[in-house]
Structures are given as structure tokens and as C-alpha cells.
């Protein structure tokens, strides 16, 4: 049974939908610039830089070790993995888990993150809910169950109204996530207004805490390197090379570049 379609006043479009889009967009741009102003420099210690490079070297050894002679590969593997004094066995970094209490810079980062992102969203969401309340704003194109009604239809007290019709607060939230691609177009990648990215970072941030991971990273590298074998890529090389003539086309072109341009 088809629901009778509601006809909305076109004033809603003019005075509600467009203003909310503008407000969301401008707030996002302001957030971006504020985050740039409040950014603190991350100072890396010498040890962290050095460790990250060592890990890269070990990974390269595993992946490209087949291009160097067997003896050299074994020498390097021994250097890293030797039982008594291999680098990965010997080096233990002092690990201080970076909890917000002990590390003051992390604390300020967290506060700044909250202030620039969560607070404005709550404030503006609430203000929009208060200002633009009492009427239906738009209809989502897919059917929703009745459970969504109290969430999406704040301020509209109609029991029989289809849950697809939503209030302005939900339009605001739709905008916050939808304008992400607009932000990347205008502000370039990696901008401070990209809220969903920031929320993702906060969730995975715990898993990415670098200093605590160094010891674990070393252990993981040690295991991976133990398993790697040396398959020399140059084994049958001469036969393969000499099976056909060298490709010397266009080696001697008649035109020589003169001067700078």
C-alpha cells in the first residue's frame, strides 16, 4: 500500500536545507583553520628515527635479499637474528606506555582534539535542533523501521508519520559526513575538517601507539627474518641473457642535444 506523499512547503527548502548546508560547510572550514593554528610540532627522538629505519632495512633484507650474494645475505641475517648478540635479540627499548596522565603533550593533544571536533558538533547540532524544530525537513530515500522515529524525528509528535521523514537535526548530521568529499576538494587532502577520519583515528589510535610497539615490532621482525630463505635471483642469469641478442635499438640517435634547452 503506497503511503500518500507529503508535499512540503518550498520555503523549507529555501530557509532550512540550504542554510544548514552552508552552516555545516563554514563550520568545517573554520575547524580546519583552527586545527592548523593549534597544531603542535611532534618532535621525534633520535632513537625513534633510528629504530624506524632499522625496521625498514630488515624488511628490505627480507624482500630484496635475493639480489645480493648468499654470503652477504647470511651475514646480515646473522647480524640481526643471532642468538646471543643479534640486533633484534639484544636491543630492548625502555617502554613507557603513553597514557594521557603521564605524558603531558598527549593530554593537551586529546583536549585540543575534543575541543575542535566534538564540542562544535554537539553545540551546533543542539542549536539547529532548537531553531529548526517542529517540522519535517526531508525524506530519506530508503524505508526505515519505527525504531528510528524518536532518533530522527526529534520534535515532531506524529505517531503515524513514516519514519523516512526526518527532522533538520538528522539533515545536519547527514551533512557533516556528506561534505567530507567537498572538504578534500577545497581544502586538499588531510584537512582538519574531516571529522569521520578524525574519529577513525581516535579509535585506531590506541592500536598505533608507536613507542610501546618498538619491542613488539622488533620481535615480529625477528620472527619474519628467521623464516626467510635466500633464493638467489641471479641463478640461471647468463643462459637467459644470452639466449637472444641485446636490444640496441635507437642507441645511437643522430640528434644530439645542444645547449640548455
Amino acid at each position: 500500500m503506497a503511503e500518500p506523499e507529503l508535499l512540503l512547503d518550498s520555503n523549507i527548502r529555501l530557509w532550512v536545507i540550504l542554510p544548514i548546508v552552508f552552516i555545516t560547510f563554514l563550520v568545517g572550514v573554520i575547524r580546519h583553520y583552527v586545527s592548523i593554528l593549534l597544531q603542535s610540532d611532534k618532535k621525534l627522538t633520535l632513537e625513534q628515527v633510528s629504530d624506524s629505519q632499522v625496521l625498514i632495512r630488515s624488511r628490505i633484507l627480507r624482500e630484496n635479499g635475493k639480489y645480493i650474494p648468499k654470503q652477504s645475505f647470511l651475514m646480515r641475517k646473522f647480524f640481526f637474528n643471532n642468538q646471543d648478540d643479534g640486533f633484534f635479540k639484544k636491543t630492548k627499548r625502555k617502554v613507557i606506555p603513553p597514557s594521557p596522565m603521564t605524558d603531558p603533550s598527549m593530554l593537551t593533544d586529546m583536549i585540543k582534539g575534543n575541543v575542535t571536533n566534538v564540542l562544535p558538533m554537539l553545540l551546533i547540532g543542539g542549536w539547529i535542533n532548537w531553531t529548526f524544530s517542529g517540522f519535517v525537513t526531508t525524506k530519506v530515500p530508503f524505508p526505515l523501521t519505527l525504531r528510528f522515529k524518536p532518533m530522527l524525528q526529534q520534535g515532531i509528535e506524529l505517531l503515524t508519520l513514516d519514519a523516512s521523514w526526518v527532522s533538520s537535526a538528522s539533515w545536519y548530521f547527514l551533512n557533516v559526513f556528506g561534505l567530507r568529499s567537498m572538504y578534500s576538494l577545497i581544502l586538499g587532502q588531510d584537512n582538519g575538517a574531516d571529522q569521520s577520519r578524525i574519529m577513525q583515528e581516535q579509535m585506531s589510535g590506541a592500536a598505533m601507539a608507536m613507542p610501546a610497539d618498538t619491542n613488539k615490532a622488533f620481535k615480529a621482525e625477528w620472527e619474519a627474518l628467521e623464516l626467510t630463505d635466500h633464493q638467489w635471483a641471479l641463478e640461471g642469469l647468463e643462459e637467459e641473457l644470452m639466449s637472444k641478442d641485446l636490444d640496441l635499438d635507437n642507441m645511437f640517435s643522430s640528434e644530439l642535444p645542444t645547449g640548455i634547452f
Partner: protein, 297 residues
């Protein structure tokens, strides 16, 4: 004095793009950079916008290469005005002092940078460069080794170390450094070729075999590497001429050497484009290959 734009009939945008190409591909044609860059700075400074700062840096380093202290000082002055307290500018000031051979003052500047920021690689590398310029190669090698212990991923530094070791005739350690480079850049035929040359210089049957392999690898990566082709010929004939090899190895290497010689002939033929002189030059090539044969001693 004709300006560059007049001589070559180019616009300032083309000059700027050329400078960018030289910058990105790490060219060291300092005289050309100074010619093009000086005109760009003097005539078209306002049109360049923010590009001008990086051009100042590029032209300054090129000017130091060409002993143009006047131009270098101008560039440095502009950069200091714009970026006060910057480590990058301070390093350039140190480089200018190095060019004037005032090494102690330069050393002091670099030590200041390092006190402020101990992870600054540029200052450390300049200190090593000072040691190299003063001819103290053993100390330079020692400092470079310490640097590489901290920053294992710095390929520029590994290559410099390989060069220093080659100058000191310590071929085993040069080979180690080149292996690092080959691992990180497996498709670069030049590292393979240089490694093969070091192995060939070290001598001994195992090293000769390795050098032949790596000359072949360089050829596989770039079919036109003539140096690798000649190296392949030399190492194969060297192994074949040695009295201690088995008959099979000898036969294989004679085959490799013959193939290399035929390819060399082909290359010279192509170079001559079939002109009359080609026949004479081909004969010269054959005689050269004959004379390069290693006779068993």
C-alpha cells in the same frame, strides 16, 4: 651579453620549469644553473611567487660550485631575511663558509644546529663533507660509519661510503656498502655494474664469478650498458684463461666471452650506421678484443 632567454628564445616559465627538472632529478650542472637561475632571479623575481625561495637555495649551491661568492651571498641574504632562525638556511650559511675554506666557523654552525635538533641529518653530513674536503679520509670514514649506524636508510650516505672505501682500496667494505644499495634499489643497473667492478678488482675465482654474474645482471636491467658488456667480456675471459678451472667452467666462460664479443661488434656496427669508416673501426674493435685476451700466466 646576451641573456639566456634571448639566446635560446625561451620564456621565463620554461626557465623555471627547467630549473625544477634539474632540482628534482638532482643534476649537478652548476654553470648552467647559475646562468639560468641568475637571470630568473634578477629579471623575473616578482613573477615567481613562492617558488623563488627554493630557486634561491638551488642557485646558491650552484654558485658555491662556481666560486660565485657574490651571487651566493645575495641569495643567502634573501633567504635569511625571509626565514629567520631556520636550520635549513643555517646549513646553507655553513656551506658558504666551507666554500671559503673557513672550516672552523662552518663546523661551529653545524654543531649549533645539532645542539638544537639532534636528528638533523643535513648538518651531520656536512660535517663529514668537511672532513673529506680537508683530506682526512680515515676520520671521514669513521664518522660516516657512526652516522650510518643511526640512519641506516640513508642511501646517499651508503654510496658516499662506498666511494670513500674504493679510494682507500678497501674493496670488501665497499662491496658491503654497494650491496646495501643494490638491496634498496634492485632495478638500478648502475649499482650492479659498480658492484661487479669492485668484485672484479678484488680478484680471486669466487669474486670473478660474482662479478661476471653482476655484469650480466646490469646488462639484463639495461641492455645498452656498454661498460657492463665489456666487463662481462673481461671477467669471462679472465675465468676462462685461469689454469685452475675445470673444463666445463672453461667452456662455459669461453662461450660467454664469445657472445659478449659478438654483441660488442654489433654495437660498433650500429654506431657506424654502415658508413665506410665502419669497416675500419670494426677491425679496430676486433684487434682491441684480441689484445684484451688474458693469456694464462
Amino acid at each position: 651579453m646576451a641573456s639566456v632567454s634571448d639566446m635560446y628564445d625561451v620564456t621565463w616559465e620554461e626557465m623555471r620549469d627547467k630549473l625544477r627538472k634539474w632540482r628534482e632529478e638532482n643534476y649537478r650542472n652548476s654553470e648552467q644553473i647559475v646562468e639560468v637561475g641568475e637571470e630568473l632571479i634578477q629579471e623575473h623575481a616578482s613573477k615567481l611567487g613562492d617558488d623563488i625561495w627554493i630557486i634561491y637555495e638551488q642557485v646558491m649551491i650552484a654558485a658555491l660550485d662556481c666560486s660565485r661568492d657574490d651571487l651566493a651571498t645575495t641569495c643567502l641574504h634573501e633567504l635569511k631575511k625571509q626565514f629567520q632562525g631556520s636550520h635549513r638556511v643555517k646549513r646553507l650559511a655553513g656551506m658558504r663558509l666551507e666554500a671559503l675554506e673557513r672550516y672552523d666557523e662552518a663546523l661551529k654552525m653545524y654543531n649549533d644546529i645539532l645542539q638544537d635538533d639532534s636528528t638533523n641529518t643535513a648538518a651531520r653530513k656536512r660535517k663529514i663533507a668537511i672532513l673529506k674536503a680537508q683530506g682526512k679520509s680515515t676520520e671521514a670514514i669513521r664518522e660516516l660509519n657512526e652516522y650510518l649506524e643511526q640512519f641506516v636508510g640513508d642511501q646517499e650516505a651508503w654510496h658516499e661510503l662506498a666511494e670513500l672505501y674504493i679510494n682507500e682500496h678497501d674493496y670488501a667494505k665497499a662491496a658491503f656498502s654497494l650491496e646495501e644499495l643494490m638491496m634498496t634499489n634492485p632495478h638500478n643497473h648502475l649499482y650492479c655494474e659498480q658492484y661487479a667492478e669492485v668484485k672484479y678488482t678484488q680478484g680471486g675465482m669466487e669474486n670473478l664469478e660474482l662479478s661476471r654474474k653482476y655484469f650480466a645482471q646490469a646488462l639484463k636491467l639495461n641492455n645498452r650498458n656498454m661498460r657492463a658488456l665489456f666487463g662481462l667480456y673481461m671477467s669471462a675471459s679472465h675465468i676462462a684463461a685461469s689454469p685452475k678451472v675445470s673444463a666445463k667452467v672453461k667452456k662455459d666462460n669461453v662461450k660467454y666471452a664469445a657472445w659478449a664479443a659478438s654483441q660488442i661488434n654489433r654495437a660498433y656496427q650500429l654506431a657506424g650506421h654502415g658508413t665506410k669508416e665502419t669497416k675500419c673501426s670494426l677491425k679496430a674493435v676486433e684487434e682491441m678484443l684480441e689484445s684484451m685476451q688474458i693469456m694464462p700466466s
